[in-house]
Symmetry: C2
Subunit: 441 residues, 2 copies
């Protein structure tokens, strides 16, 4: 039987389920092992007798509760320790450091394990999110605004526009910086999309995700979001970045430019890497270090530079790709990014396809599926022929970044020549040729 | 005026052009600077007065020749020093170390600069190839067999079958090992394709390429091909590997398993990387170092395990990919590899597409576009729904390797269940789960 502070006794599971998220407790099992931590929201299953605790270390554990478990409530209820933030509001006045806005979209960083299936599902309740991430408010006030409640594979270009508007709204309301909690699957795509859609940013826009859900042991969510908040408060930065683990330890984080970043591992915490450029900086011991090449905050009012046009494709070349298949894939598009091999090549018979679609006014933009180094039409005969067939070479843009830029550029012009001019102009620091040059012998 | 050893004098360019490829010469320009090296075959352009020399260091230079240039022929003609090898034949008898076969396919490793366009075009004459690579015969006899004369973006699955047959022919003729000189663009695809097509290999099959053509200064071709030849002579190895620079210096090379390797930079010499597994070994100072996990030579006779079926696709997911576009791309295929996000996901609406095509008997195989880590359907709801919709998860296979395996598997079975069974069985050491596990927290 459980004994609570009040001296009343009942089934320990009932006691625990009656306590608010964030309440500190000590749970002692029959063997005498004690767990000290805060109650974490978890999916209640009929029949399940597991309660999740966030330990002091930041790790979460699931503790099996039986009739012999002793429960002791430690300290005051969490409402007196950390006032839950109502939707879209926070105690932001009087904070000398200013406040930041957290936009949530779902994804692992705002998900919990579904014990029925063993999988992970997103949560949208911002109370749950702050209970998962009490450290978020440690360095200043945070306004939480749920935007979506989706795994990131369901976030696409139209959603980038919605997010961009929420970012602008947040800055106009006085936020010092914006954190966007986002699933990691398409986080790189969204970061690139926002890089092109947001202009004149007065502060940082920091996308952050987690590779492990916050109710799991060893979740990277808490430390990632704390690092992201530190970057969002930095007054030197006025661009879209991604903050994620820089290694397997919880004390070093990389700041990646939104147009250079890519998820390069399906499960590691340090899955994100900058390609064709260095990380812009790091967070270590709570201190943000930034390279001089970061884009500083803008004085002008932020705005969303829409619209976009999703009538575009991203076509990855492979040796068996036929003209018929390329043609079917790109039917009706206004533009297509090709991820070619090497310096930006496709098999010879596809060059005729490029010639025919560009003659119809379709923009064909070439990148390299190597994901590092540039696309360059001047080294091999194939490149020169593709150039003559009308392909546009986008140097060292990642295929994903080129796709995001194409969607943006198609929204800004009708004429293919104008679209190509927009694509080749540097807009968000996305071209960094000198790093490519280092790789040349 | 040039002075030759014979004392005759004439225009120095005429003298140089009259000398055989491989002839050692000293060229001294008007300023007194002298170049010592062997004449390298180069594209003769009317009006061009540039002669290419291979220096002792292995680097090539282009030397401008004018009327004041002094030319001195050094040593005997190359025919006395290194007998040119006739097509498909070499002095192989009496070599105690055994001989190797070099199959050439074109690509940068067998290309030279076209000075008219500034680009690079393949050469197929094996005399030129041996003049480019005199070091190839340094450690033993080599039989040169030209197979194709193409840049690698034009080498596809049907060509893998041809190459596989030439490899088997070479082993049956008594070769100790086989080197395949191949363009780097699709070298990873071909390496994967041959890994599945070749069985019971009695020795190494080593694909090698170059990122700089052999008539250019700082070509990586000579050092790569020398390292590849050393690996092809190694008696511990009976699988398909790729040998390329392991860094920017010319003295360290990596041996990559054919199913784990990918071109990860469009221009660096060390462009190739093993993903989801370590390099199988290295070549340093001419010595081949191999990990114990290499597949040893087989005692059985080698054979080509065809046929293949190219009626397959490789579809790279991106956030704006619509059902209509996926459906059009995959029309008529018997199988499609999807490079999904993260652990192998696509947007929700595509799950219905997967369900409908698998119901029609199409094999849908899921991989991750992260290129490292595995695809796993059991972590997120999306994965479980894709699994229920009929998708097959291919763990940590690279999308490119999965495509090569699919083309092979489709040639070996009609029944989707049997094709899926072939895809999930390890055949060439392509699955290495423990390396994925290391990335898990």
């Amino acid at each position: 039987m459980a004994r609570t502070e009040s001296g009343a006794s009942s089934d320990p599971l009932t006691v625990l389920r009656g306590l608010p998220s964030g309440q500190r407790v000590e749970i002692r099992d029959a063997s005498g092992h004690a767990w000290n931590g805060a109650i974490v929201p978890s999916h209640e299953l009929s029949g399940s007798r597991i309660v999740s605790l966030k330990l002091e270390s930041g790790y979460n554990v699931g503790v099996a509760i039986d009739a012999s478990t002793a429960v002791r409530v430690v300290g005051a209820p969490p409402s007196a320790r950390s006032e839950p933030v109502p939707a879209g509001r926070a105690s932001v006045e009087g904070d000398p450091g200013g406040w930041i806005t957290l936009l949530t979209t779902g994804g692992t960083i705002a998900s919990r394990v579904d014990y029925e299936t063993g999988g992970v599902r997103p949560v949208s309740d911002e109370r749950d999110i702050l209970a998962f991430y009490p450290e978020l408010e440690g360095s200043g006030a945070v306004r939480v605004i749920p935007v979506f409640d989706r795994l990131s594979e369901d976030i696409g270009p139209a959603d980038w526009l919605v997010l961009a508007q929420r970012v602008v709204d947040a800055f106009r309301a006085g936020a010092r910086g914006v954190v966007i909690a986002h699933g990691t699957d398409t986080l790189g795509f969204t970061a690139a999309g926002l890089s092109f859609l947001l202009t004149d940013l007065p502060g940082p826009v920091v996308l952050v995700g987690a590779q492990r859900s916050p109710d799991r042991p060893s979740s990277d969510g808490p430390s990632n979001i704390e690092a992201a908040a530190a970057v969002a408060r930095d007054r030197r930065l006025g661009e879209v970045v991604v903050v994620m683990h820089a290694g397997l330890s919880d004390d070093r984080f990389a700041v990646h430019r939104g147009t250079w970043v890519r998820k390069m591992h399906s499960s590691r915490r340090d899955a994100f890497e900058s390609r064709n450029g260095p990380p812009l900086g790091s967070v270590h011991g709570g201190t943000v270090h930034l390279l001089p090449l970061v884009r500083p905050p803008s004085a002008g009012p932020p705005r969303v530079d829409g619209p976009i046009d999703e009538n575009a494709g991203l076509l990855w070349f492979y040796p068996g790709l036929t003209v018929a298949r390329a043609r079917a894939f790109a039917a009706g598009v206004r533009g297509v990014v090709v991820a070619g091999t090497g310096l930006g090549h496709v098999r010879s018979e596809l060059i005729d396809w490029v010639r025919s679609v560009t003659a119809e006014g379709v923009v064909v933009a070439m990148t390299t599926q190597c994901l590092e180094g540039g696309a360059d039409p001047y080294v091999y005969a194939t490149g020169r022929e593709l150039l003559r067939a009308g392909a546009l070479y986008l140097d060292d843009l990642l295929p994903e970044t080129a796709y995001a830029k194409l969607v943006w550029a198609l929204g800004h012009a009708d004429d293919p020549g104008r679209i190509k001019a927009l694509l080749t102009q540097d807009r968000a620091g996305e071209f960094l040729r000198r790093h490519r040059a280092e790789g040349e012998a």
